[in-house]
Symmetry: C2
Subunit: 378 residues, 2 copies
């Protein structure tokens, strides 16, 4: 199962695991893949702690970090602005109404001491200087990959990474974007189909991957979107990819940070139960359908705000809702959701992350054996 990216990163299996949970990152790296920590929600201080933990847990094995550097964000969130103040009152009012409708005790939202610090820091991470701080922290640790989750990585990211000898990856949803990423100096392209969780376009993995592979050769391409099993890994490599980038599948692992109410929803969900919605970040992102996504599409909705304002609104509400859902509040349980791809329909059991990797490798081999037998007959 060794492809060119295995050589490039010194890994055994070309399985890249995107996760916000350090335990998943370390488990996949230690199982022979490459864990990538999603850093956007962290302050520089917190990221420092997480990476120090991962360094210890992985003992020199390769892992990476993913930062979100969107091309377009709301003007209020640029340097010196106050994105929290830019959230219209009607959006806080809509949340208050939502909490009332679903019988969830409402917090004081968006004001004074209750203004959510974590939401502020999350929105700050998507600005240029915020992301640069996260990049600096990351490059001071043992990372072997830095990825840009949305849009072309800024020159400063590519320069700093190259100076540190760390390869840069970027996610793309169209073949046109891939060409731009290559021009920006990216070393690895993640071609992510519209079935993926999180920020995605609409072109499916099956169509996108071969097009991107042909467009950026000889730069290696990882397939993302719709991949949770070894058959899907084999299919990705059959399409020309050098490996896979998976995010959703780790959310129902033993190690995952996923709240138990959300995990239960994911285990029960079918492939039909996701939706591309702007309701969590302001940009279209695939996530579990829930009362939350329905209400933001509903008649009372003030509409999603641009990034990162919608992130401030949504994350403040979600943290609160998760807390109440975990305490058994029924309305909160109806509302909570999380980013996940259509493969949620294949995520039906809780396993250790290591086991997910091993199962993928085993099923991959079976799938390739089956294919090889077909050509051997001819």
């Amino acid at each position: 199962m060794k492809t060119d990216v295995c050589e490039m990163f010194g890994i055994e299996f070309p399985i890249f695991a995107f996760s916000h949970c350090r335990d998943v990152v370390a488990a996949v790296t230690n199982a022979g893949g490459l864990g990538v920590l999603g850093a956007v929600a962290y302050s520089p201080e917190r990221l420092e702690e997480e990476l120090a933990w991962i360094d210890r847990a992985t003992n020199g094995r390769p892992y990476g970090v993913d930062v979100l550097v969107p091309g377009k964000i709301d003007a209020s969130a640029r340097e010196g602005g106050d994105p929290l103040a830019a959230v219209p009152a009607e959006h806080w009012k809509f949340l208050t109404h939502l909490f009332e409708k679903y019988g969830v005790p409402a917090p004081e939202l968006g004001r004074g001491a209750n203004a959510d610090k974590a939401a502020r820091s999350g929105s700050r991470a998507v600005t240029g200087s915020g992301a640069t701080e996260l990049i600096d922290v990351s490059l001071n640790h043992g990372i072997r990959l830095i990825a840009s989750a949305l849009g072309t990585p800024p020159p400063i990211m590519v320069e700093k990474a190259k100076a540190a000898g760390v390869p840069v990856a970027a996610l793309v949803g169209t073949v046109e974007h891939a060409a731009r990423q290559v021009a920006a100096g990216v070393d690895l392209i993640v071609a992510q189909g519209g079935e993926a969780g999180g920020h995605t376009g609409e072109i499916s993995t099956m169509v996108l991957v071969p097009q991107v592979v042909d467009a950026v050769a000889p730069i290696p391409v990882l397939a993302a979107g719709g991949i949770a099993t070894g058959r899907q890994v084999a299919a990705s490599i059959a399409l020309g990819a050098s490996g896979v980038w998976c995010g959703s599948v780790w959310l129902t692992t033993e190690e995952a940070e996923t709240p138990s109410t959300v995990k239960a929803k994911m285990l029960a969900a079918t492939a039909k139960d996701t939706i591309r919605s702007r309701s969590r970040t302001g940009k279209p992102a695939r996530q579990l359908q829930s009362a939350w996504t329905a209400e933001w599409e509903g008649p009372d909705s003030p509409g999603a705000l641009p990034m990162p304002l919608q992130m401030i609104v949504a994350e403040a509400a979600m943290r609160h809702l998760v807390k109440h859902a975990e305490n058994g509040n029924e309305g909160a349980t109806q509302l909570v959701n999380y980013f996940v791809g259509q493969v949620v329909g294949l995520m039906n059991t809780v396993k250790p992350a290591k086991q997910v990797v091993y199962d993928m490798v085993e099923e991959f081999a079976d799938s390739v054996d089956r294919l090889s037998a077909l050509t051997a007959q001819d």
Copy 2:
């Protein structure tokens, strides 16, 4: 490349070609695949002629027929109704306005001698008795497969086919539908991802195929949606499919019936240039984006009608528009479109249908060799 469906149908390659064009059907069958004629637009008399032609052209080699038997259609189109009369005046008025806006000479629409006979017969084919007539005609010819393009095949179709010893196939877009099809007695399942052209759901091929394969085993499954190259065939089989069902890729072949203005649009289109829209049939169907799909989503649109009323409206207009587009009318050229999947982004050259089959087979072998080499190293 021989799978169980090759045995089942006596074919060399597990490549099934859905086309409304008899030349494509015959070419694929003669190249070692299995051509399937989309019969919905034909009157029983016309279908009789087409199948007689295919019988002669294929000389006993296997081919099939596809009929459209939707579960839900507008009440007016059921037995004894008058669907043409059920089309609201405002829909004809919208078309008249559209023709004027785009500078296309308007026909008299939806009335008297100008009421479109072909549209009537097309809408008739989707009713129970209309479809039954097409099934009867088909079973009097050398068909080796009968497929139901939308919804569970009616008992009469399964009974008649079984009595004639002809396997029945059905298209599904969710794993739940697949279970219903199996209960209805279907012999072959086509798992069609949301990236496909025509009537589709939203679940991608990469996610749908392994789920359906597991759910209906040992009934064989063909993958559909996003498949135009040998790498995609290899990926489909890696996912567990026994073969592929392709529709879009034939539309830009030499033999295709596609009007030259539409063919030119397809050759130029990227994977982003399709949309799932109700504007041609009343049910969500993926097609080329054009002024037509934009106008039906626009502020002046009266909204799409239920099937088959929207088919009557759209087909009457499209036939007229294609005629004018082919004569160089610019507005008509902006409006014309056709059903096609996201793989339109990979359809960039005109080839004979036979060559498409051979290219798929060759690229399939290369893709499998590459995969086999990866496992051989381990």
